[in-house]
Amino acid sequence: MNSRRGFLRSLLFGGSETSVVTVFLRGGADGLNLVVPTFEKDYYRLRPTLAVRKTLELDGRFGLHPALEPLHGLYKDARLAIIHAAGSDDDTRSHFEAQDLMERAGRPERGAAGGWLARHLRTKPGSRGAISAVSIGPTLPESLRGAPGACALLSIEQVALPEASPAFTKALEVLYAADGSGPGKAGQATFRLLERINRAKAAAAEGYPDSSFGHSLREVARLLKAEAGLEAACLDLQGWDTHFGQAASFEGLARELAGGLAAFTKDLGSRMERTVVVVMTEFGRRSYENATFGTDHGRGSVMFAVGGPVRGGRVITEWPGLGEDFLEGPGDLAVTIDYRDVLAEIVEKALGNPRAADVFAGYRPAFRGLTA
């Protein structure tokens, strides 16, 4: 009966649930240059050419890369939290292994098959609508593997009945309205969804970066503002694998990330109160720069969280240090906060799923006071 109640609730209130948007920085983003430990002499010693020397002040210890300037305001408004020296326990330093592991958030043993967002959607009480979870792109990411009502969209224009004439749509709607069964109600909810999407189509906001990432953020914002029942969205920002000439590409990516998130936050307005955006990457980069002015695969990196339920304006970290004794393996920032601590707190506290333990089966997360 839970699902029926969920349905009624969504019909009556048009969605009062909090949604999560994940941004995956593919390739292993250099956390040390995104959020700089300005108090670490070793940082400047290890990165003679790549060190970011002028940063935006955060908490006296860390500074933001200047290209992340649009995030600085969100931080100062206590809406953005930064989690540093975060990552997974995977030490293969392989993109695919580390990304897969992170998106599954667990070894695919009992209860941990499929992606973590799929498990969240499957364990969360209530029923899921036609588009409860989306990724903007040609395929579903690993984190949504096995999710009910998940779909990969290129744009929300695809949530439509392109071959249906108005007369057809009307007649079909009448048929479903006359059907009192569960599917009949689901049909009515689907027509409601189409109406909402139609209204949202008109409202495409400005200010997003002119890129595939910017486009994706705008599509997700349209779905969220339409109150179309979207509970989870997955976005990618590619290109962080900066082995060569890091400075050339890194700044543009950082600008795209920050500009996109700032535009998204502004676009969503009050809907941001019921939204959490979490930014993650499969691993960070080596503490020292290499001979080709880049950085190689490392371990710990940075995560960002922004949104209504987030207690922002803080850098949450158990800083491991950059001295020789503290670095891991070939010279990497150690991971002192498991990424699942962050995700589990979001799932349980922000998204209200009482079964976070099943979502991250086999891992006991430590909450870090990320949420209000």
Binding site: R110, A113, S127, I131, P148, A171, S181, K185, A186, L194
Partner: protein, 469 residues
């Protein structure tokens, strides 16, 4: 089954003379093309009982099926369907024969590209569901595929699933339950999927043991304890796959087997059982009364109604027990209990296949059609957790939008790989043919307002009535 790769390549080359795709598409047209000049449509205002019987024992009636069933009588028809080897299915076999990977051993499968293996099995699964005359067999294959779920996304399961589909599910779908479970337990796919190969005496892995009891045999309330799970895991230690030479071959390592005494569900397995522990364990769990009840309840839900009465489940379970888990007789007993007035919500796969069958469509099972299944979340062998795709309606309610789009695209001829073979006659007659009863007043109105014969067909396929079976 042990055809060499070379024979197959030669066979495929011969078959491809004159253009493979056109040959197969004319073949599939011929298969579907058995559209009789005249065939009956259900005429009542409630679902025709023969139609219902066809719906439940197949992936949906094709033109002429109703007449064939009525000519033979229900019992004789059921008996024939329960003996698929007696049904000539050569045309369908020819359709799927071109998929070389379907015929290979687990080890040889590993030589193929993953995408090829996954694609061929998914295509074959759809083609068989649409074109096989052994419809009940295909429906049972789908049932046991859910029951003993394998997820192609885990490890080498993408390759091993193909062998498991053939050697476990298809080989035993109408055989003895214990043989089915034994074949599953010792399949490379299951050993990988539920970590059986990691189950050593020093570090037992309970994953498979738990699902064997909870999902495959006794059921979650079947009366086993955590201790039984641990003891079951111990009895199953030592089974692994060869790593290097002969990859994909299952072998028993006595040195990794826990050879001490075990007690499972109150029955003692004496020390020193070795590989025989598996046999004793299977005797215990497959013949346990909870297993008969659990499997029977699932069959009744799938074939009879969402909420089968305890009496019905008991009757089917009694047959299961009395025949020592003979699945043919258990399914016969189940299907005899069909009753009107308990419609079930079609899952996406059945929705698509029943439309293709009902309209005598030609298809080659290409991505164009299968991507609708992906979008609706029921792509074959892509369900991550061992409980298999859900059988209850609620998780599928969110798929209506994509069903409507499929209905419109197909009816308007926009799908290249789903060409309708049936002439579009009067909408009301088409409705009866596809739904199993005459349209009511509201439905007649919707059909007439749809805007032409194609739209009317789309209205039938998209409407609430066609979502049930």
């Amino acid at each position: 089954m042990n055809l060499s790769r070379r024979t197959f390549v030669a066979g495929a080359a011969a078959a491809s003379l004159g253009g493979c795709d056109s040959l197969y598409s004319s073949l599939s047209r011929k298969l579907a093309g058995g559209i009789p000049e005249k065939f009956s449509r259900p005429e009542g205002s409630a679902i025709d009982p023969d139609f219902l019987f066809l719906q439940r024992s197949s992936f949906g009636p094709a033109p002429g099926d109703l007449d064939r069933l009525r000519a033979r009588g229900r019992e004789a028809y059921l008996d024939e369907q329960l003996h698929p080897e007696r049904i000539d299915d050569a045309p369908c076999a020819l359709l799927v024969r071109r998929f070389e990977s379907l015929h290979l051993s687990p080890g040889n499968l590993l030589e193929f590209r993953r995408e090829v293996v996954e694609d061929e099995l998914a295509r074959a699964t759809l083609l068989r569901a649409v074109f096989s005359r052994r419809q009940l067999f295909e429906v049972l294959v789908s049932f046991w595929t859910d029951h003993l779920n394998i997820f192609q996304g885990k490890g080498d399961c993408a390759w091993f699933k193909t062998a498991e589909d053939r050697d476990v599910i298809r080989r035993h779908a109408l055989g003895k339950f214990r043989d089915l479970v034994r074949a599953s337990a010792l399949s490379p796919a299951m050993l990988v999927y539920l970590d059986g190969r990691q189950n050593h005496k020093e570090r037992p892995n309970e994953n498979y043991a738990r699902e064997l009891l909870e999902l495959h045999t006794l059921g979650v309330h079947g009366g086993y304890t955590q201790k039984d799970v641990m003891e079951t895991a111990r009895a199953l230690t030592g089974w692994d796959l060869k790593h290097k030479w002969g990859r994909g071959t299952v072998e028993f390592h006595a040195d990794r087997h826990d050879d001490g005494e075990k007690t499972v569900l109150g029955t003692r397995l004496p020390a020193g059982g070795g590989a025989e522990d598996l046999e004793r364990l299977l005797d215990i769990v497959c013949r346990h009364p909870s297993t008969a009840a659990h499997v029977s309840a699932k069959l009744c839900r799938r074939f009879v109604r969402d909420d089968p009465s305890p009496e019905l489940v008991r009757r089917v379970a009694a047959k299961f027990t009395e025949t020592d888990g003979d699945l043919r007789e258990t399914v016969r007993e189940t299907l005899r209990a069909l009753e009107p007035g308990a419609p079930r919500f079609k899952r996406p796969f059945r929705f698509v296949v029943s439309a293709l069958r009902g309209l005598a469509a030609t298809t080659q099972g290409k991505r164009e059609v299968r991507q609708y299944l992906e979008r609706m979340g029921e792509a074959s062998f892509q369900y991550p957790t061992p409980d298999g795709y859900p059988d209850e309606p609620e998780p599928w309610h969110g798929t209506l939008l994509w069903r409507w789009n499929f209905a419109l695209a197909m009816a308007k001829g926009k799908l290249e790989d789903a060409r309708i073979g049936l002439p579009l006659d009067a909408p009301e007659s088409l409705f009866a043919h596809l739904v199993g009863r005459r349209p009511d007043e509201g439905e007649r109105e919707a059909l007439s307002e749809a805007g032409g014969p194609e739209q009317a067909l789309a209205m039938v396929l998209a409407g609430p009535a066609f979502q049930w079976y």
